[in-house]
Symmetry: C3
Subunit: 331 residues, 3 copies
């Protein structure tokens, strides 16, 4: 039936930006976190190596993640294929959730054809863990591995990305091919975090060789397609179809947390339909649109106050027109 095929095509697109990636990331998260490796010898060994000068000895958890740079073919929208470079197969890569005070270790393997690396924001580290041109050994070649060690010292939303310019490609190219992901550092008293209503969204430009595509989390959606869906199925029919296809569904009145990163080289901004107040980093925002300049991050807390099919999109409207759109359902 034509409707089914149409909806499924659409849903594949609509699903990915929030539900799909979030769930994928969470399962990765469950897999890669080896929990609290509390062996005192290891803790003290890392401690002595990295933090000896600071003096005070206190118990620290070590959280370990295993990440591999690898290729993946991602369908940004029906028929628009993206030969991406990824960490662990998805764009963005796995969400690294840690707690203030943690030692964070990333065991990185380069499964691609040129040098790559992991460079983090917001964590504390020594130069050996910079993942940049300032310490070349921290950018392993094809088939090589490297372990990075950091300390989480303050709460917030940060991210990691490749810092290599190998293969005759500038650093911007390495990033826009897909090598980035989020780091969320939770306050010490908010652990384990409640992640059910957390949404991580990267706004960026996918490097298509040549050209690029605006996307959120490796997916595009188009508002006129939503129009067609609702007009063909009726509002409730569309809602039900979207929900059945896995579009994230949240209860009215629940506080949602959006972790937002502008990972591209262009200016983006975040807008959510639904009429509810938006708080960003604890303060209200005039006009309820959140700026996401290149490299910027923001944490938005939102309550959806009415049921609906609610759009989320870049308010650089030409970017939304070009696919920088996603959806959330509230009931």
């Amino acid at each position: 039936m034509q409707y089914d095929k149409y909806v499924l095509n659409r849903l594949a697109v609509l699903r990915a930006p929030t539900g799909g990636v979030r769930m994928a990331s969470r399962s990765l998260f469950d897999k890669v976190v080896v929990g609290s490796i509390a062996g005192l010898l290891l803790v003290f060994a890392v401690f002595a190596l990295v933090y000896a000068p600071r003096g005070t000895v206190r118990a620290q958890n070590v959280r370990e993640f295993f990440m591999t740079a690898q290729p993946a073919t991602i369908e940004l929208s029906p028929g628009v294929m993206w030969n991406a470079w990824t960490y662990n197969g998805s764009v963005p890569g796995p969400i690294l959730r840690v707690r203030v005070g943690d030692i964070v270790k990333i065991h990185f393997t380069n499964g691609l054809g040129v040098r790559h690396s992991i460079h983090v924001h917001g964590l504390r580290y020594t130069i050996e863990n910079d993942g940049s041109q300032a310490y070349p050994a921290s950018m392993p070649g094809p088939g090589q591995s490297y372990t990075y060690t950091y300390e989480a010292t303050r709460p917030g939303l940060f991210y990691y990305h490749c810092h290599s310019s190998d293969g005759g490609r500038p650093i911007s190219y390495h990033i826009q091919k897909g090598l980035y992901g989020a780091i969320i550092v939770y306050p010490a008293d908010q652990w384990p975090p409640k992640t059910e209503y957390e949404f991580v969204q990267f706004f960026g430009e996918a490097q298509l060789d040549p050209g690029f595509a605006y996307h959120i989390n490796g997916a595009q959606a188009h508002e006129h397609d939503l129009l067609t869906l609702v007009e063909s199925q009726g509002y409730q029919g569309a809602f039900d179809a979207l929900k059945a296809a896995g579009v994230p569904t949240v209860p009215v009145g629940t506080e949602l947390t959006f972790y937002l990163v502008g990972i591209g080289d262009q200016y983006h901004s975040w807008h959510m339909h639904g009429g509810s107040p938006v708080f960003v980093n604890g303060a209200p925002v005039e006009g309820d649109v959140i700026p996401l300049g290149p490299g910027s991050a923001a944490i938005a807390r939102v309550r959806v106050t009415n049921p609906g099919i609610w759009l989320i999109h870049c308010h650089v409207v030409v970017h939304a027109d070009a696919g920088m759109v996603t959806i959330i359902l509230a009931e």
Copy 2:
């Protein structure tokens, strides 16, 4: 006399961005606000329809606005004509001033050739009032009408715009053709608002088919024209001519409030000459330039501390060079 003609041409340009549009908007505002329609039956009918689930019943005013999408030809600067799409004949459309706690109703009529809509930021509403592709009935076709109902729940500067992508034109096109305007929600204890020294300024790109023009409130001015005017008339002569032509004139020392919106798809920023401190959303701003990213809004409070012909312009300087300039007089 050549001088008169020159000044009048210039003044037509200089006047529009602040004085002209502000006054036009205020008179529209006076016309469209039907005051507090306190008929208890209507209040309770709306109340029951939209807010029944919330329980507590309290008195709410209903403020009604009548808006029509209609064409207008706007002279951005002498000889630069813009075939705009407008709400009620001006760009930006009427300023909607409401109070926290109000029910807001917009009776919208589409007087243009394709579907259009009103989508608001910052107010609370149900999906039937979204004015987007998620609820197609809220985007009426040519000759049709639709009534939107919202609730104002928090103070601030918001705005409304068309969300339609009808006619083979993306949403960005509908907006950049001129379909937007401001919503100011005043705190409950600041009503009626004192609007004498309030200035609403939209920074955007006018869609010219093809190409676009940087403008503030549907008008352009050029700094080299001001130079010519002052050099030909003398400083006091230029001041007097500008004042006589209706350029907004404010008393030194009075607090001015600027309601600023970046409505375009490019980054803009706001700078005012005159040396006075600038407070934005209650806090000082480093460097005294206010960022206006796409979709962003800001409220700036300024005291002009000396008399003068004071420039206001985008500090993306190429935009100022291209006409994103206006003027205020202080005495």
Copy 3:
């Protein structure tokens, strides 16, 4: 020896953005500040002229600066020459350090071929000191001089720039040719300021006639050159060579203050490697990247927590790839 030549070429580049310009600016600063010219007659003359209406008489220092618009040829990176317009021979021009309450006087001489001016942000002034088209006499022609008088009324980071559009060149051109510099207004109780660990960084686009080059403080550096340096000399060898060449070196744990200005017409952002928390205008920043929109300014306070060769670059990554990079050493 090839290595020496290579390092020296590199170091010429790496040095300029922070150490070179900072030191140059400081020596200029020492030269141009004539201290507190406390002659009561002068103070009262200025006072009577500019501030008579305000009534209260209190003691104010007058700080005087002498600035000349003059050409300079700046090597942005090896072989990339920039025929710049400068204040006093450098881009940015001298740093003007003043204290809240000061009267600030700039004795400006135009040593270039068309009209130029000085227009300040953040200070208080009368229209005669606007340096813009609103007061043409404040934009002197070639060989002419003009004295500007301002009052510093609030602390913060501001800047000055040319506001002329003479010579058939728009204002943006005058600025992007190099005519700008910083004004730092210190709180009254922080004087004299401790400037040893202060860094002023302007992010902009150098007008090359035709085309432009991304730069920080009139210099470019490239991350792949750093890679080559470290790989050829070893990490410690590179560190020592950079230090010997004058790259700024700071002690681990010391609070550094970065005064940042986005002076270009494009969006930039500031990122520093090293893993330390970043505070901007007193508050932490999500994601640790600082937005620098056109005309924006920010004050960042940073502690480098580990020794290293630490990169500072624009996080609009294509800009970093194009040379918007500098370095700081910590030990």
